[in-house]
Symmetry: C2
Subunit: 419 residues, 2 copies
Amino acid sequence: MSLIVQKYGGTSVANVERIKAVARKVYQRKREGHDIVVVLSARAGETDRLISLAHEVSPNPDPRELDMLLSTGEQVTIALFCMAMKDLGQKAISLTGYQAGIMTDDHYGEARITSINTAIIKEYLKDGYVVAVAGFQGYDPHHNITTLGRGGSDTTAVALAAALRADICEIYTDVEGVFTTDPNICSNARKLSKISYEEMLEMASLGAKVLHARAVEFGMKFNIPILVCSSFKDVPGTLVTGEDQDMEKYVVSGVTYTKNVGRITVTDVPDVPGMAARIFGPVGEAGINVDMIIQGSSGIPGKANISFTVSKSNYEKAMELVREIARDIGAGEVHGNDRIAKVSIVGVGMKSHSGVAGKMFSALAAENINIMMISTSEIKISVVIDEKYTELAVRVLHDTFELDKDPNGVFRVKEEPFE
Amino acid sequence: MSLIVQKYGGTSVANVERIKAVARKVYQRKREGHDIVVVLSARAGETDRLISLAHEVSPNPDPRELDMLLSTGEQVTIALFCMAMKDLGQKAISLTGYQAGIMTDDHYGEARITSINTAIIKEYLKDGYVVAVAGFQGYDPHHNITTLGRGGSDTTAVALAAALRADICEIYTDVEGVFTTDPNICSNARKLSKISYEEMLEMASLGAKVLHARAVEFGMKFNIPILVCSSFKDVPGTLVTGEDQDMEKYVVSGVTYTKNVGRITVTDVPDVPGMAARIFGPVGEAGINVDMIIQGSSGIPGKANISFTVSKSNYEKAMELVREIARDIGAGEVHGNDRIAKVSIVGVGMKSHSGVAGKMFSALAAENINIMMISTSEIKISVVIDEKYTELAVRVLHDTFELDKDPNGVFRVKEEPFE
């Protein structure tokens, strides 16, 4: 007998028929003798409906009240789901984030789970209940309702699995698993049977929407296997788990992209200590996350050019702020570009293989795609390019690293020095 | 400076524009220097929408899960309202039933408030907030969400006013106040400027839908003046308050009716001790409320006929149950009639005036309306009649007691013995 946490996303519970179908699936698993906790999202479209309702009231809805509003979406789903379970003859109980003991900090709209009191859930499991928990929500130390941000139900599920020491966390969604890249762009994208937490984390952060990055972090930290699979088709999914011997053969596991990027450049910044802090201090305080930062020499001695990227939603705000800062610190001009994209390759195999970066840059150069910025980590290489080349770059990289091929070591990078 | 609890019903917050209008009204009152707690209902139609969603899932939705579902309706309203308040520049905070400390028993769907912990509300009021509380909901000792039944937001408002020792509880609704009878039936129905708790309680119980009976009970118990007034028109409403000298002049204050009644008669019940208990024990255990009960002699010595009324929604269930019971106890036949109505006159003045009943019965007899059952209390007389005479009876009684006239003692009953 296992303890299983399952999460069903918005499309899986979009309407009454689908909610009943999920109930039947859960019922089958329960009858196999497992203890089951089900985390549910709001019905597809419901969160958007509530957000537009809020915007009808206010151009800039209060964040606490927005969370109060949005948290109703999941509450509706868990109630309907438990009604369906009980009609199948299975005891079931729904719990809001508060009732399930999911405590968060007080960052409305993007709260982080700080602790989970599992006592109530464990008691109901012991009594034979299927426990349905509202995803995406928690409560802060002052008992205010908080939400975890888009995709937060994934995080709820994996965090619950960790807190309950579940055997597995199953994420049921509208895709069949994790693919080597976006199948909409690259027709020969291949479904991975396994991927490491680190790779999945990079892919989630870099724009692959299949799993929320925070969820992967929880999985990694507490070593909870996460199975991503289809809610509609009975086909094998992708297991996100710790690194093993198989995985190292991949070298590159996936190509990701995001168009949600803007780049800002400040020219002729006086090259004295503390300048970076004077730029990025206020930007951070304004709640703007900076992704890549590059500092290069300007044409003028004693001056430097600084470029960085922000998400497109923060682009205008950041431009405005940085123009002020540039004046204050006696820098030159501020340029911006929000028609750019970030394309990345990810793979734990990179740790032990050099030459991957060179191969990537050559492949892009061969297509005359100019690289504006580069950033790397142990297991990923990201480049910023003109937005219009996004799809081309993804396909070229997918082909270059032969991601359509079976992973059993067909592809080998040449042992060239890392450049 | 006063502490005011205001309640706005579903039609008053039916859409975004109306929610904003309520926010402006509250803002004005707050600027006059008062402390304000606002209790809000679900938007008109929302509770029905959620109920039909539940019925799409299950023919007989689990009561706990139904409360989990329905409670989202008010949560949406309070969140939207507080967004609107903040856009007016007024601090406001929304609280669910749980957050507002409203504890109830665990009778899902018709829970009763058992205590209110006002600490959090008081703290926010002290800090200058307008506090918006979700009506109709609370939580039981195990932290399950409960609802108080239809019209329960009235109860939330008056109970909060009592717990907070508010100066007044204002109920904003889609009617202008309490009328001497239903203006849809009787064109010369008159709005009362004042009515006693006792009268209002009888009228609420007897079918006048303007105020929830439980709410009036709370008002009476804790002596909280309740002002019922229009959410849309700026006209004087009706003050529900303790008895005073003015009121005694009314004798009869109102005529109420309900068609939501069924009558069941068991013939030839053995006239031995314990028979009533053997009938009404199981009926009560089945959750069926019995209203009037009349026991009379049957034609056969040692046997009695017992008649009683139940609400129409319980009629079929009660008939079935009583047929079984009748067999068990060796009674005769079971007859039923669900095409009946109850018409009542209410007035604290009856306490000190006799002859009211006689006048009522004569007026009905003059119209050839047959009286099937009678029940009386100190301040009301109810009769059960054929449903088709309902409107006629209401108009006749309204005329007989001259309820269209100014209350200053125009009408005097003759000092006849009470029959």
